[in-house]
């Protein structure tokens, strides 16, 4: 009997930190991650280039430590580029020569295409296999599906692309929903982006935006808008015939290592998904959503994990 190919083993990844944390907190966080069962770690500032808790050297130091502890490390690029200085930093990441790069915008794709193999991040608009095949021809080896697409679209795309191309899905965290030139955290403080005084560092999991009926609706994270609820696909792990190769967990200020551990137990069949879902509730104060996965409104949630 031949052994099970490595690619059939479901891997867990940790996405880039979306928020503005202090330097010490980031160092502590990644020290903790070294001993978690996550397989892949994406590193870098993807939201706002003004945030400088970590300089380039700090990212590389952390990358080297994580790699030494057995993690696959990927450097993620900024999702929205506006200034020439930002383009310069993306170029530096693309030319780093050691670590793989996740391109989060077409500028990064242009810098990597035909030169280095790369990963297409969740903010690239890959909605069909023709798009994906084109990017594969230019060096893409893994893609992270846009969060608004469903499991059916994933299945449809997978049968039309080369088998060695890895598919990763966003499986835990507040959903990235939009990017803007304007900083909404600064706006909530009645200042402009240029005068922000790093007010986003007051909100380690983003700033809640509720409806006037107190329904927790969206999360403000600087120039990014996220869901208030946690997108949670752990309930889908029991049936993943045509599903992804890699599940992405998005970091939050508290409990990330417990979330990783629960996903790890479920993938190893050491814990059933409904039990994990129960435990995960304490890390999702605004509740869960999973509508996109089922081809519905993203904010909706259907608990299908307790089916026989």
């Amino acid at each position: 009997m031949s052994s099970v190919p490595a690619s059939s083993y479901l891997r867990l990844s940790l996405g880039p930190i979306q928020y503005h944390w202090a330097r010490e907190e980031m160092l502590d966080f990644y020290r903790l991650i070294e001993s978690t069962p996550v397989d892949i770690v994406y590193l870098g500032e993807t939201i706002c280039s003004k945030r400088r808790s970590f300089r380039h050297r700090d990212w590389i130091d952390v990358a080297e430590r994580l790699a030494a502890s057995g993690k696959e490390v990927v450097l993620s690029t900024l999702a929205l580029l506006e200034a020439d200085s930002e383009l310069g930093y993306v170029r530096k990441l693309c030319n780093n020569g050691t670590f793989a790069v996740e391109a989060n915008d077409m500028s990064a794709v242009q810098m990597l295409a035909g030169k280095t193999s790369f990963i297409g991040g969740p903010s690239l608009n890959i909605y069909n296999s023709a798009t994906l095949r084109k990017l594969v021809n230019l060096g893409l080896t893994r893609w992270v599906m846009p969060v608004e697409l469903s499991k059916d679209v994933l299945a449809d795309i997978r049968i039309e692309i080369p088998a060695q191309i890895e598919s990763e899905i966003f499986a835990w965290g507040k959903l990235p929903l939009a990017y803007s030139a304007r900083c909404y955290t600064a706006r909530a403080h009645d200042v402009s982006k240029d005068a922000c005084a790093y007010c986003c560092s007051d909100y380690p999991d983003g700033l809640m935006m509720s409806t006037r009926e107190d329904e927790k609706f969206l999360t403000i994270n600087g120039i990014q808008t996220q869901s208030a609820r946690i997108y949670n696909l752990i309930g889908e792990l029991d049936e993943r015939d045509s599903s992804a190769d890699i599940l992405r967990i998005s970091p939050q200020s508290k409990g990330t290592e417990q979330v990783i551990s629960l996903f790890d137990k479920v993938r190893n069949r050491a814990l059933r998904a409904p039990n994990a879902t129960n435990e995960l509730k304490s890390y999702a104060k605004s509740g869960f959503c999973n509508g996109y996965w089922h081809g519905e409104a993203g904010m909706s949630f259907s608990d299908r994990s307790d089916r026989p």
């Binding site: 999702a79 929205l80 580029l81 506006e82 200034a83 020439d84 930002e86 993306v90 915008d105 077409m106 500028s107 990064a108 794709v109 242009q110 295409a113 903010s123 608009n125 909605y127 069909n128 296999s129 023709a130 798009t131 994906l132 084109k134 990017l135 230019l138 846009p146 608004e148 697409l149 679209v153 449809d156 795309i157 039309e160 929903l177 939009a178 990017y179 803007s180 030139a181 304007r182 900083c183 909404y184 909530a188 402009s192 982006k193 240029d194 700033l207 809640m208 935006m209 509720s210 409806t211 006037r212 009926e213 107190d214 329904e215 609706f217 403000i220 808008t225 409104a297 993203g298 904010m299």
Partner: protein, 331 residues
């Protein structure tokens, strides 16, 4: 500096042509374009009529096929590209890489413009589309300051078109899922933001409430005017305070900076509003035509005419306008 005007039907197309558009952009009557609204857009007969009308008056027609097909619907976008090419459109406005790849291979001489939905905010991103698919113009998302647009133009291998007037997308176009988050249908996948079928207006004793798929977007006094419930223009609670957390109901208006846009080399100014009436198209086209002509004659002494500004204000969301991201302070 070309003037590119919107048309959601034949009377609007004629209004744009008659009032001085250099080009008119239109779409098919389905989800292959980003203004997929009931009763809007062109069937094949109307496209042929529109092309003939514009051609006889030396006005170009661009066809927008600028949404993102999924595997099961990809053939519909291919058919749209073929149709547009066969009808003789002057350019296609496209966003999806797979669609662009198809168009570039099947119709190599067909002119392609990168839609604002393609989210290219840097010259490297623009270069990607120019090199891979021979794209000949890119529409810049409404996220760059004037200085950043100038730098984009300086380094871009192809001309850049920008938005000059109309409803303001506050988020980077092509990368906003707010509508699909709430309704399951959004600009990228369905071609519409906050589709009308999910909108509910309801009156309480003293208020008028607007909801999108049940989510309260805004609540106004009965004597106030309630805006259309696009999520980014609603009022929400942040840190215990009710506010327009993202943006107020307002429209983009670049008349005050038209000479700057002209000097930095903007290739075309686009007016938003294929969903608006022929009267809107006529009015805005007429104002922008006069303004661009005046600016070209004497950019140093250009002052927007008060009548132009009030005409534009009268058709703006919330009757107010902004320079949006062009002005750093707005960001």
């Amino acid at each position: 500096m070309e003037l590119v005007c919107p048309a959601g039907n034949l009377p609007s197309l004629k209004a744009a042509v008659d009032n001085g558009a250099d080009a008119v952009y239109i779409g098919f009557r389905d989800e292959t374009n980003a203004r997929h609204f009931a009763g809007l857009n062109f069937d094949s007969k109307q496209i042929v009529q529109g092309l003939a009308y514009a051609d006889a008056r030396s006005t170009k027609i661009y066809i927008a096929i600028n949404t993102y097909p999924q595997p099961r619907t990809f053939a519909k976008w291919q058919a749209a590209v073929d149709q547009a090419a066969e009808y003789g459109a002057d350019a296609l406005i496209v966003a999806d890489i797979g669609v662009m790849d198809y168009a570039a291979n099947k119709w190599p001489s067909l002119r392609l413009h990168l839609s604002v939905q393609g989210s290219a905010t840097s010259h490297e991103a623009v270069r990607f589309y120019a090199e891979q698919f021979g794209v000949r113009r890119a529409v810049a998302p409404r996220v760059l300051s004037v200085k950043q647009v100038a730098s984009l133009i300086d380094h871009s291998p192809i001309p850049i078109e920008v938005f000059g007037f109309g409803s303001l997308c506050v988020m980077v176009e092509g990368r906003c899922y707010l509508s699909s988050f709430v309704t399951g249908q959004g600009p990228n996948t369905f071609g519409a933001c906050s589709p009308a079928s999910f909108v509910r207006w309801s009156e309480t004793d003293s208020n008028l409430e607007t909801r999108l798929n049940g989510v309260l977007i805004d609540r106004v006094n009965k004597d106030e005017k309630a805006g259309y419930p696009t999520i980014c223009k609603g009022r929400f609670l942040v840190n215990g305070e009710t506010r327009y957390a993202i943006e107020e109901p307002t429209s983009l208006n670049t008349l005050p900076i038209l000479p700057e846009l002209y000097r930095i080399g903007v290739a075309a100014i686009k007016i938003e509003g294929r969903q608006r009436s022929p009267a809107y198209v006529a009015k805005v086209t007429r104002v922008l035509r006069a303004a661009i002509d005046s600016c070209k004659r004497d950019p140093d002494n250009f002052v927007p005419d008060q009548a132009w500004l009030s005409a534009l204000s009268s058709v703006s969301e919330g009757a107010q306008t902004t320079l949006g991201a062009y002005e750093r302070q707005w960001q």
